[in-house]
């Protein structure tokens, strides 16, 4: 029974609870048992809230018995990256710098999920201060990939990727500043959405780079992801930068797409420059699926994305250094060497260069959208183009090699943050026994369209059904 429950998708388990085929307590117990089994090998959780989760589940079962359904997540256990504030509770942000910090408010996103009936299982491992596409963490121990525990999960939302892939939770929140949702989604075999900048509130989220940070859902299926975004999206008065754009019903019409009129742009430059052949093969095969469904694939040059990657890095480093300046100056030993060195660079960037990088964002996003979306309806890119590194290979790498690997892990994701566009990661196969994923990038606020296009692929394939051998 328990194994059957954790095999369900988020949407399926929500229906099972609502229809009283399973109780919220049973579902929560199944997740907790799975965590107990997997945690020693995967190190996904940094804090498990078993008693709190079971108490919440009992309350939800009582409410359901009285005929009250809180919302579309009633009785669904979730877990989240350890950078979301919860009043009266500590968070680590994967670091030592927040030792002793206790949040004095609760993140709007957590409130929205719990108002919709979600159960909070606990806080998940992540890269130190959310800076690091490998997901490694020297302070709390590395999170391990459930498909091959000797390999990285990708990051920075490492625990989010590993826990959902390992069937320990039905979904998780991650954050994405330069790829931190899409990279672990690709490497762990999940659907992961970096929403349009402003689509999801960031209130109560420990920042890294305020210009580029995004909060988004990581799930096993497209429909699961659409359900979570439907709960999360929408203006939040507590986050003035959140968008007032109306929120569509992301789940409605998931299958209602005419693929024969769909044009998909695929890059002939930059994005595949560092790709491993086995990864490329899986990505190209996903394009064949779209062709078979009737879509037109258009190969085109994307232009100077390498410089866009540099601008993204500049913004992350300056804004990250600003957030962490007091610790960099006074307690630098609290950071791992790798993270301290990456942040430090931001201290020396001239303000003029930083402002230029910010001001260029609008004109460059405009130029990119007008050029690309005149040609196609959606862009298809690798999620991660290189072969997934082992944990040992990064451990052994000298600094410059580690920096190069990190750079290449985020090779295909950073520009999407700079442009502020939505990017949806979709699993599409395996290379060397580890998942591979592509990302669909669309116009601002086109998440519903991206879900339709991802759903069409998912219905034609079964990658998303495959579970790691735990």
């Amino acid at each position: 029974m328990m194994a059957d429950l954790i095999a369900l998708s988020l949407v399926e388990v929500a229906e099972a609870v609502r229809s009283k085929q399973a109780s919220a307590v049973e579902v929560t117990e199944a997740c907790l048992a799975a965590v107990e089994h997997a945690q020693p090998r995967l190190n996904c959780f940094v804090k498990l809230e078993a008693e709190r989760a079971l108490a919440a589940a009992r309350t939800l079962d009582d409410e359901l018995a009285r005929g009250h359904v809180r919302g579309p997540l009633h009785g669904v256990p979730l877990a989240h990256k350890d950078l979301l504030y919860r009043q009266g509770q500590p968070i680590t942000c994967g670091s030592k710098v927040l030792d002793g910090f206790v949040a004095n408010e609760t993140a709007s996103s957590l409130e929205r999920l719990e108002a919709a009936g979600a159960i909070y299982l606990g806080a998940l491992n992540m890269a130190e201060i959310a800076l690091g596409p490998s997901g490694r963490n020297e302070h709390v121990g590395h999170c391990h990939n459930p498909w091959k525990p000797d390999y990285i999960t990708g990051g920075s939302s490492s625990g989010s990727g590993a826990s959902v892939a390992a069937r320990l939770a039905y979904g998780a929140l991650g954050t994405d500043t330069g790829g931190s949702i899409r990279i672990p989604s690709a490497i762990c075999g999940l659907v992961g959405l970096k929403p349009t900048q402003g689509r999801v509130t960031r209130h109560g989220v420990m920042p890294l780079s305020s210009s580029l940070d995004n909060l988004g859902p990581m799930t096993r299926t497209i429909a699961d992801n659409a359900r979570l975004l439907g709960v999360l999206a929408g203006h939040d008065p507590r986050d003035p930068l959140s968008s007032t754009e109306p929120v569509p019903d992301y789940e409605a019409g998931l299958a209602a797409i005419d693929m024969t009129s769909l044009r998909i742009a695929v890059p002939t430059d930059y994005f595949y420059d560092v790709a491993d052949p086995s990864v490329t093969a899986a990505l190209l095969a996903s394009l064949d699926v779209y062709r078979d469904l009737g879509a037109t694939v258009i190969e085109t040059r994307f232009g100077d994305q390498e410089r866009i990657r540099h601008l993204t890095s500049l913004l992350i480093r300056v804004e990250g250094a600003s957030v962490h300046a007091r610790w960099l100056e006074n307690e630098p030993e609290l950071f791992s060497t790798e993270i301290r060195e990456r942040l430090e660079t931001g201290l020396y960037v001239p303000a003029v260069r930083y402002l230029e990088a910010l001001r260029l964002r609008g004109p460059l996003a405009r130029e990119f959208c007008e050029r690309m979306f005149a040609l196609a309806d959606v862009i298809h890119l690798p999620g991660v183009a290189i072969a997934t590194p082992s944990l040992a290979s990064l451990e052994d790498a000298v600094n410059t090699d580690a920096a190069r690997i990190n750079d290449r892990l985020a090779w295909c994701t950073r520009a999407v943050n700079y442009y502020g566009l939505p990017g949806l990661g979709v699993p599409c196969g395996f290379a060397n026994g580890l998942p591979v994923g592509f990302q669909l990038v669309g116009r601002p606020f086109s998440e519903a369209r991206l879900y339709q296009i991802g759903e069409a692929y998912q219905r034609a394939t079964d990658w998303y059904r495959q579970a790691p051998p735990l």
């Binding site: 900048q197 754009e245 601008l311 100056e329 430090e344 402002l355 260029l360 116009r443």
Partner: protein
């Protein structure tokens, strides 16, 4: 490994010490200089010919204009 420029390297080391009390060794100073060069080159080359017609922090408006 990036080369240590005899002018830029010591300058960055001096600024690090003066502004933040940070002791940068020559290797780190060279890495920082290289990264600053890359960022500067990217800004300069991409800014060429662009008319800044949007507010510096008006990015939300840009997205709104591009949504359909």
């Amino acid at each position: 490994m990036p080369a240590y420029d005899p002018i830029i390297g010591p300058t960055i080391q001096a600024l690090a010490k003066a502004w933040y009390g940070i002791d940068l060794d020559p290797t780190r100073a060279a890495v920082v200089a290289t990264e600053l060069d890359a960022a500067t080159e990217a800004v300069r080359s991409l800014a060429g010919g662009i008319d800044y017609d949007s507010e510096p922090f008006g990015f939300a408006g840009v997205l709104d204009a591009l949504k359909s």
